[in-house]
């Protein structure tokens, strides 16, 4: 039961991104061409509401279901790490039209060739782990 709630939230998230066509390669391509508002509306409204939620949680010192204070890990400042890492990510995102969340959802939708992308993403993560000491952070 402790883990089951994450399964239910996952189902909800999977349905939302699927019904919203966020998992569609075409929606991502359309977004990068600035041809439609759809994806910007989704990310924009999620961030505005998310910011309100985050502010509210901090403001009220809300506790998690486990009873501890909900905490947010601040991200350590760096420019090259986020800019260069982000650029690599963006190149891949625009190519395969899926970020990690949608990759998994597409498996559930029966697009099994997406496994090639997932295997690639695991290899990419491995490559980062190996090169990490040599990369500027």
């Amino acid at each position: 039961m402790k883990l089951f709630k994450f399964f239910l939230v996952g189902i909800f998230f999977g349905i939302a991104l699927s019904k919203g066509e966020v998992v569609s390669w075409f929606r991502i391509y359309e977004m990068f061409r600035f041809d439609a508002f759809h994806m910007y509306g989704i990310i924009g409204s999620a961030v505005v509401l998310g910011a309100l939620i985050t502010w509210f949680i901090k403001r009220t010192s809300m506790k998690s279901v486990e009873g501890s204070l909900i905490k947010f890990t601040p991200k350590k400042f760096s420019i090259p790490r986020y800019l260069v890492g982000g650029t690599f990510f963006g190149l891949g995102w625009a190519m395969v039209g899926a970020c990690p969340g949608p990759m998994y959802i597409l498996v559930g939708k029966g697009f099994f060739t997406i496994f090639i992308v997932i295997i690639g993403a695991i290899i990419g993560t491995m490559i980062y782990g190996v090169l990490r000491p040599k990369l500027p952070h």
Binding site: G10, G14, F89
Partner: protein
């Protein structure tokens, strides 16, 4: 009311339903004491398959991410449920200008399914498409870990928490995405499609 419920079940969702649904996901995970970040599951996978032997980056207790694997499994089931019972399949109503651009690069029937059939169906799988999907995946995995997060960790959680690093990462997402869309895909598609 029935009409609304029917449209939620059987019609594609407009942006103003999807955005709030993502925010609710963010809230629920925070309330359950976790931080929303799907690509962390990729790092945990590397740790679970013995990556700790080749890099100390994967030498951590991946079981602390068990909840993320359960969440991810839920998203897979959510994808199945939406396809089987909620009519989430077939044509995607993308902009005409998007279709024209894709047709101009040699893509047939853009938007007739969720994914381009020339890239993602078994019949069209060849050395070109396999390399395309694999390299794209490598870039996503490498970039997400280098940047310390993907769309959920940076664009949603990070921006919601007003983190400057996340804004820099999102700018990076767009530098890469625009470069791929405008300069590289036209060349790559001339080989692959």
């Amino acid at each position: 009311m029935t009409e609304f419920i029917n449209s939620v079940i059987y019609e594609p969702w407009p942006w103003y339903l999807v955005g709030p649904a993502i925010a609710i996901t963010l809230f629920l995970l925070l309330y359950f004491g976790r931080e929303f970040g799907v690509s962390a599951s990729l790092r945990a996978t590397c740790a679970a398959i013995g990556g700790g032997k080749i890099s100390s980056f994967f030498d951590f207790d991946w079981k602390s991410q068990k909840w993320n694997f359960v969440f991810v499994f839920g998203t897979v089931v959510g994808g199945t449920v939406s396809s089987l019972f909620m009519n989430s399949k077939g044509a995607v109503d993308i902009a005409e200008s998007t279709k024209e651009a894709l047709i101009g690069m040699g893509m047939t029937n853009p938007g007739s399914d969720y994914l381009p059939t020339q890239l993602f169906t078994y019949e069209n799988l060849g050395i070109g498409t396999i390399l395309f999907l694999l390299i794209g995946g490598v870039l996503v995995g490498f970039g997400a870990r280098y940047a310390g997060g993907c769309t959920s960790g940076h664009a949603i959680s990070g921006l919601s928490n007003l983190q400057l690093p996340s804004l820099i990462a999102v700018i990076g997402f767009f530098i890469g995405g625009l470069t791929m869309t405008y300069f590289l895909l036209p060349v790559i598609f001339s080989w692959v499609l």
